[in-house]
């Protein structure tokens, strides 16, 4: 069958909402785009363990400590599913790590911001996980089977995390003056970076059309961002807090909240590697990997000895 014919059939399957599976034919660009997107997503889960991991030893109650540990563990688990999903496309986990460690692969820029107070654990859950869910729920209907199935499981856990994050903020919002201040401060710091998580505006997002055609993407960045703003603008009222945007207000005509301009200069600066924690996050991952080399070698050597003994 010639390539055009295959491409046509491929698109027909997608249009008919039939999942593409690892052994199916797929265009090179589809494969590459998915590898990039899924591995980037996996890296984000792994790097994303660090800002929250930063507060495990300082969680202010045993219950919160246990919840946070479980959450960070879930993130590692998500990383695992996603690396596995990417592997079905013909790349190994070690190759993906190499891309991360060498700076070739990206991860979500949000994790280049520092976690400065306990309230950040709440804000990350509510806003960052909230934005992630908004991005990911459509992906659980994405055209590539393994990715879609990983997403179903991930989204279920993420919404659990989001509720826990909101509950942290809710507790702080009912607490003493210092706790309320901590709560508002965290919202102030995490709000704009969360909006940036949806990516550049549609005008600056040239690949959107192709990705939507392939059903790797189902809504545009701006559509999802608007949806997120609309939800958060309501939820923040329950906290008795405010979002740090003086332009935020309900637009009766659009039936949406209007919001102020995003600082894209900051966005691109962080993407380029100049965020407050880019260097440290990457250095931490690389260090963990390098420090672990002897452990991985030992485990391998032991397995080899064991199977040698078995067949001896």
């Amino acid at each position: 069958m010639d390539a055009n014919k295959l491409a046509e059939q491929f698109q027909q399957k997608i249009d008919a909402d039939i999942k593409i599976e690892p052994q199916d034919w797929m265009p090179d660009e589809y494969r590459k785009t998915l590898i990039r997107q899924i591995s980037q997503h996996a890296h984000s889960e792994i790097v994303g363990m660090l800002p929250e991991g930063n507060w495990i030893t300082r969680a202010p109650s045993l219950r919160r400590k246990a919840i946070l540990l479980a959450k960070v563990q879930d993130e590692a688990g998500h990383g695992l599913y996603l690396y596995s999903a990417a592997e079905t496309l013909g790349i190994t986990r070690d190759e993906m790590y190499y891309q991360l460690h060498s700076g070739k692969a990206k991860y979500s820029s949000i994790f280049n911001y520092p976690t400065l107070t306990w309230a950040d654990m709440g804000a990350i859950g509510w806003l960052v996980d909230g934005a992630a869910i908004m991005n990911q729920v459509p992906l659980s209907r994405c055209s590539y089977g393994p990715y879609a199935r990983a997403m179903v499981r991930i989204c279920k856990e993420e919404s659990f995390h989001q509720r826990q994050g909101f509950e942290i903020l809710l507790t702080l919002s009912k607490g003493n003056a210092a706790q309320r201040k901590m709560c508002q401060d965290a919202i102030n710091r995490w709000w704009w970076p969360s909006l940036m998580m949806f990516g550049p505006t549609d005008n600056d997002s040239p690949h959107t059309a192709q990705s939507m055609k392939w059903k790797i993407k189902r809504f545009t960045n701006d559509e999802l961002r608007q949806k997120f703003v609309d939800v958060c603008a309501e939820q923040v009222k329950f906290l008795g807090m405010t979002l740090p945007d003086k332009d935020l207000k309900w637009n009766e005509e659009r039936k949406h909240y209007d919001f102020g301009p995003i600082n894209w200069e900051e966005f691109w600066n962080v993407v380029k590697g100049n965020g407050p924690c880019n260097k440290e996050r990457l250095a931490t991952r690389v260090q963990a990997w390098e420090d672990g080399a002897w452990v991985r070698e030992a485990a391998l050597a032991y397995e080899e000895k064991k199977s040698a003994r078995k067949y001896a």
Binding site: S61, Q179, E297
Partner: protein
């Protein structure tokens, strides 16, 4: 009653500090699957700590307040006696964990060896506790044993991998044994409160000690690591509140928020 409270706090402190140290690895493990496994172990320990603190808090709440505060050895007066005030508002010298558990993580060899020594000790101790006259304590022990069996298995496998892996891993295991061995004697140097609350006498302690040593040496043999014996001398003091210099730093970090806002809800 004092022995019971001391013993519960001892168990809780052991669990919490083990959990703390294990949790320091989170996001820094050598292999993603093992990062998850170790975080899971940390979570088990925090869960066990909560059970013991809650049981202690429940017992303390039944006592006259003055007596309860003195028994728990708070250094400031907490708004109420809860799992959290017991964890967060006692000083290092009120903590009763073994010295072993507060030692720094070191490398992967040192960490897994610490878990291996400790979880094997916990396993044989908790098997004893199953028949304890405090049914609540027995129930916690029973619940914990399921988790501990996994810790024993997981850490034992790693002892074998590293002991019988590469030259480097073996070298690191030997160094870890050298560093940690002086601290294992404290397991079986039982305080009065342990003897009373855990219903142990010198004979049964000696039996535990032998069982533990045999188990360790069995795995060490499989791991081609040298057989160990108990020396006359070992480090101790933790169970009576005399710790290493490390615990103060652990608590400064762990307790910072509740110390700053002692009556806040989180």
């Amino acid at each position: 009653q004092k022995a019971k409270i001391d013993a519960l706090l001892h168990l809780a402190d052991d669990s919490l500090i083990m959990g703390h140290r294990c949790s320091e690895w989170c996001g820094h493990g050598p292999i993603l699957e093992q990062d998850i496994a170790l975080t899971n172990i940390a979570l088990d320990f925090v869960g066990q700590a909560r059970n013991f603190y809650q049981h202690a808090a429940a017992l303390l709440q039944q006592l006259p307040n003055d007596m309860a505060l003195a028994l728990a050895d708070f250094d400031i007066t907490p708004a109420s006696i809860t799992e959290d005030s017991l964890a967060y508002l006692r000083n290092a010298n009120a903590y009763k964990n073994h010295l072993l558990v507060e030692l720094p993580n070191g490398d992967w060899a040192q960490t897994i060896l610490k878990i291996f020594f400790f979880s094997n000790y916990r396993q044989i101790l908790f098997q004893q506790l199953l028949k304890n006259s405090d049914t609540q304590l027995a129930a916690i022990a029973e619940k914990s044993l399921k988790e501990i069996q996994y810790h024993v298995k997981w850490s034992g496998e790693w002892v074998m991998r590293l002991g019988d892996g590469t030259d480097e891993s073996r070298e690191r295991m030997l160094k870890a044994i050298d560093y940690l061995w002086p601290y294992v004697g404290e397991f079986f140097n039982c305080t009065e409160y342990e003897k009373t609350a855990f219903e142990l006498d010198d004979t049964s302690i000696d039996l535990l000690k032998q069982t533990w040593l045999n188990t360790i040496n069995h795995t060490f043999q499989l791991a081609t690591l040298p057989e160990q014996t108990f020396g006359k001398w070992y480090q101790s003091g933790g169970k009576l509140g005399i710790h290493t210099e490390h615990l103060g730093y652990i608590l400064a970090e762990m307790q910072f928020l509740p110390r700053t806002y002692p009556n806040a809800e989180w």
